[in-house]
Symmetry: C2
């Protein structure tokens, strides 16, 4: 992928996505000691950056593939993103979801036009259910994060951020499945080679952190984190990109995530999901590294269940 | 006040306020049946439109008055706004607050540099405490809503909204003390005489609605509403402007306010206070009046106690 090809890709998906705003907070900058530029993908269509990768993956299908539809297994934002991206391009989307998925999420996928296939909540059942859809319909499987077109699509948020702020010293994203981080690192390597790319990751699901150390893809024994978008692990398509282009992964505690989440909600007045706060939490924890620097943060999304937010004590 | 004078006033306070963005939501427009332009004063300095009126009131003091400081009684956004606006212009602010005010609000005022005077929680005690500050210090009393300079300042949000969207058919604001509504109506009468101005008001504190019917300033027997910024009543400076320039006041139920609040948080991904949702609730309740029209809504602010938000059941 050359810079020119990447710009063409960005132009091609532009009709299907929002160019999201970049917000700043004087108060947060003052308290952290650096200048932070928040790329607000919570304002993206369907509320998350996943819309970029899903749109690009469908754009790159052949006409024959498009006629047979797409399938994925996800209970998170990618399920909604693929449904909406498919609908916008006149393609059928089959979404395999575990029976444990909340009713509101199943309804959201249906609302965006996706056909939901419920399966038992194990990885094996999920894969079998997706395989059955492929056998029956000929649909193309699109992985939520370990797919080149998805990775390239996610990186377009960083392209826009660097167009708006070419002087950034660093960009920090959350890392879950690795699609956003790999895409961001790839985009920065092409458009701002001096801009360092980092990820924030919850201590409780530190598989990406351990993967960079061991040199192989690690998984998590437990998935006990409020950052529910970050429970997944890296894949063989995005891990090499991350190894090559990512400067480091910074771990944060659950308390640090919640504190950063509250800071964003109360000071920036925007609704973001807990996963989004992980990047800011990582910058705050490692603030000495970033003193006086210009730091971009990708706010991954804003789809939250308000009743489940950890706002159990009073803050202004 | 001529249009030219009003533009000069706006220019004078511009260094002290943010020009806030105007956001839209395709989903909300589709579901309500009109095009709504949200003027996002939740992104204003200190988180509410009150910063405009407070800044203008202090700008219009003489040098002698400035040297002696300003005083107000408020436990809401105006207490913080006057503190910050005073600090920004090198003026001392005395804020009389009832002993019943939450600790976080008192701390917020102090954080913005205001000197807090605690008094018993009755109107009489509040007025006596403010009077004592005036006697002792020579400070100038600035009423949160019933003061010409405050009213003019609040109207600058509508000036900006109409500059961005001169084609608006209507503007809707919440109404509490009447400063925002009067300022908005005045601005619209000067800059967009065909644009109708309305207010939304909670049924439970319908004093402004009744005032327009009776022709005199009415008060509330109860103040039982989630829209805690709207419990106050109109004053003799803003009521005549409202009588002359406001097309109507639309009442909404507490449930309608909460539903509109959730719609804004979950679909627009912005944090707004319950008072802000009253205007959208009014448009939704009276949607037949606005079909196909272009409607501006002033989002009054975003200072909320997250733990007190009514998100007690699960929504996506």
């Amino acid at each position: 992928m050359t810079a020119e090809e990447y710009l063409q890709l960005h132009q091609k998906i532009s009709p299907y996505i929002h160019r999201t705003p970049v917000l700043t907070s004087q108060l947060i900058n003052k308290s952290v000691g650096c200048s932070i530029y928040f790329k607000c993908e919570n304002f993206q269509k369907m509320g998350a950056f996943k819309m970029r990768g899903a749109s690009n993956a469908i754009l790159n299908l052949s006409e024959e593939q498009k006629s047979k539809g797409v399938v994925t297994h996800s209970s998170g934002n990618f399920a909604q993103a693929l449904s909406l991206a498919a609908k916008n391009q006149g393609v059928k989307a089959y979404i395999v979801m575990p029976s444990s998925a909340p009713e509101v999420k199943i309804e959201a996928v249906k609302g965006y036009g996706g056909e939901v296939i419920i399966c038992p909540p194990t990885l094996k059942d999920r894969e079998e259910a997706a395989e059955k859809v492929i056998q029956t319909t000929g649909a193309t499987f699109i992985h939520p994060s370990n797919n080149d077109d998805v990775i390239y699509g996610q990186g377009t948020a960083a392209i826009e951020l660097l167009e708006d702020h070419p002087e950034l010293d660093a960009i920090v994203t959350p890392v879950g499945g690795g699609g956003l981080l790999a895409g961001t690192a790839l985009a920065a390597s092409l458009f701002a080679p001096d801009c360092e790319v980092y990820a924030g990751e919850p201590e409780n699901v530190d598989d990406a952190y351990r993967s960079l150390i061991s040199g192989q893809i690690e998984s998590n024994d437990s998935t006990d984190t409020i950052a529910d978008g970050l429970k997944t692990q890296l894949g063989d398509r995005n891990f090499p990109i991350i190894q090559k282009h990512v400067k480091g992964i910074m771990l944060v505690s659950e308390k640090e995530i919640i504190d950063a989440l509250k800071l964003i909600w109360t000071r920036m007045k925007i609704v973001v999901e807990p996963s989004s706060a992980v990047a800011l939490a990582a910058v705050i924890r490692n603030r000495k590294m970033f003193i006086g620097k210009k730091v971009g943060i990708i706010i991954s999304g804003g789809n939250v269940d308000l009743a489940k937010m950890p706002f159990d004590y009073h803050i202004l």
